[in-house]
């Protein structure tokens, strides 16, 4: 009984409660540390402190692991470790850009579609989502790559244009649920304009979904980037784990695995950490558990 009675009375918003819950989640915190570590690497690369020598030809062909070249060198003697580290930045850049924009676009369109559900606006937006979901992804990317004259951002645009539909459908469903709640009716009764209702009363209550969805999109973007780069549809100038794997696909049959392993291990670490972080976030933000 005493343990119960001494539970601290905390003054709390939903966010601080979620934060508290997250901070007590051990796997969540460990994964967060990993994610932050990767983020620091990406930042270091961006600022030119790390792996700036990724494209220099330094050693011999296919050198093994050594103190100088931790993961050996590739076919033309570039340092594999540097290239793998540099690719972290590429992954983060693609992941962040795609996750943020796709989630934001999905949120706005989903909210509008849900708020006006049953009207023609919703019909049109649903149609658009259905259309984008029905075009085979790789074809769509290829088409955009062609249409954008091989711009380095073609891949980003392609991913954003297809990934927003997932968030959008989720937000739409949630908004339809929220729209019927009495506090939204109360806002109508007070005379709050419709757009204000959507953006001040409804969307803020979907942020927990959006946050989790953004982390899921982030992972999806990283994974797609690797495959697209492998297929030759993604990163062109620069380095990415996908390009390293593409390079290695010739090498593995010859028994040289360093390129493949370096890219795989780093990528697995990041995706795994992010997946766990996303799960922990979801647990902490789950409204059924929070309220």
């Amino acid at each position: 009984m005493n343990a119960v009675a001494t539970a601290v009375v905390r003054r709390e918003s939903l966010w601080s409660k979620a934060f508290y819950k997250f901070s007590r989640d051990r796997t969540g915190m460990i994964s967060l540390v990993f994610v932050l570590f990767y983020m620091l690497i990406a930042l270091g690369v961006t600022l030119g402190w790390l792996a700036s020598d990724w494209s220099d030809v330094q050693g011999g062909k296919w050198e093994g692991m050594s103190m100088t070249y931790w993961f050996g060198t590739n076919m033309i003697g570039q340092d594999i470790f540097s290239r793998a580290i540099y690719s972290t930045k590429t992954a983060f850049e693609v992941g962040l850009v795609v996750a943020l924009i796709a989630t934001a676009v999905g949120a706005v369109i989903g909210a509008i579609s849900g708020f006006f559900s049953g009207s023609w606006i919703d019909e049109v937006l649903l149609w658009l989502m259905g259309v984008l979901d029905s075009i085979p992804f790789y074809l769509f990317v290829a088409a955009i790559v062609f249409a954008m004259q091989e711009s380095p951002y073609a891949m980003h645009v392609a991913m954003i244009s297809t990934f927003w539909t997932g968030s959008s459908r989720l937000v739409r469903g949630e908004v339809i649920k929220l729209r019927g709640l009495e506090y939204v009716e109360a806002a109508h009764a007070i005379g709050v304009p419709e757009l204000t209702i959507i953006f001040r009363h409804i969307l803020p209550n979907t942020t927990h979904i959006l946050l989790v969805q953004a982390t899921i999109t982030f992972v999806a973007a990283i994974k797609s980037e690797v495959i697209l780069s492998f297929l030759g549809l993604g990163v062109k100038d620069g380095m990415s784990w996908g390009l390293m794997i593409a390079e290695s696909s010739q090498e593995v049959m010859a028994g040289f695995f360093n390129n493949f392993l370096a890219a795989s291990v780093l990528m697995f670490g990041l995706v795994m950490a992010f997946n766990m972080f996303s799960d922990a976030l979801q647990d902490a933000l789950d409204p059924r558990k929070v309220s």
């Binding site: 003054r11 709390e12 918003s13 939903l14 709640l181 009495e182 506090y183 009716e185 109360a186 806002a187 109508h188 009764a189 007070i190 005379g191 709050v192 009363h201 803020p204 209550n205 942020t207 409204p287 309220s291």
Partner: protein, 329 residues
Amino acid sequence: MSGQDNTALLEVRDLKKFFPVRGGLLQRVVTQVRAVDGVSFKIDKGHTLGLVGESGCGKSTLGRAILRLHEPTSGQILVDGQDIVGLQRSQLGVHRRRMQIIFQDPFASLSPRRTVAQIIREPLDVHGIGTSKERERRVIELLADVGMGAEIRDRYPHEFSGGQRQRIGIARALALDPEFIVADEPVSALDVSVQSQVLNLIAELKKKRGIAFLFISHDLAVIQHVSDEIGVMYLGQIVEHATVGDLYSEPKHPYTQALMSAIPVPDPTAKRARIVLEGDVPSPMNPPDGCLFHTRCPQTQDRCSTTVPAMVNVGSETNPHRVACHLQD
């Protein structure tokens, strides 16, 4: 009461709200749910009309239609003699300030991510009333009016119990100093020991501020305490309408009588003949012909299934008691 002129604060004339049901090959409207089917009444300044009926009788739809939260299908809603049906949303602004609503579910009626102060201030913000300082002061006054302290200003709704949330909801409704409030089942989600607290608060507001209420409830026992007149609804129509005194002492419509006798009485020694209705409420999608109640009425006659009974006044001119039943002819 003292009828200076004949314009009531609110008058509803033959109000209808139908919801279309679609079907068939081309998703055409095949039928309609007649949620509110021709309701008329008046509410004078400072008066309370209690509206009672079972779930699905259309009472909540009616309350929302009056505030134009649902667009009425037809009929008139006169506020001080001016019809507000058909007004553009932008023109509704003035009326929004005069009419407010209190909701049933204390957990769904407050936005979970906003603080108490933000919630109560919002009507003032929207209508641009007062300076920021004045609004802050007003929030504290309003909280005091509903029996809560200023210290809860920055807290979130989920930190409060159902009864306290309901008080916050009432404070929000009062922020614009409305003359008329629709109270939609405001106590039915609350525990018994808290229900009376909220009912007392509403009764006090009515007395002190002269606010008129449309008080919607499924419970005849709850509604008695706060109402001046009562309308009994069945399948989208008002079947009986009288002052509180008359209705409870002499219910005329068989449905009202059944409703009253169905309420469990907390007195084990009371032995009374209960009218237990047979069957279920018919679907508002295809209501029965004739009297809507004839399928369940214990006193039904032949003509009930064919002719619609007219609303007749069985009371006096000054103290009307209207009922729609063939037995009253």
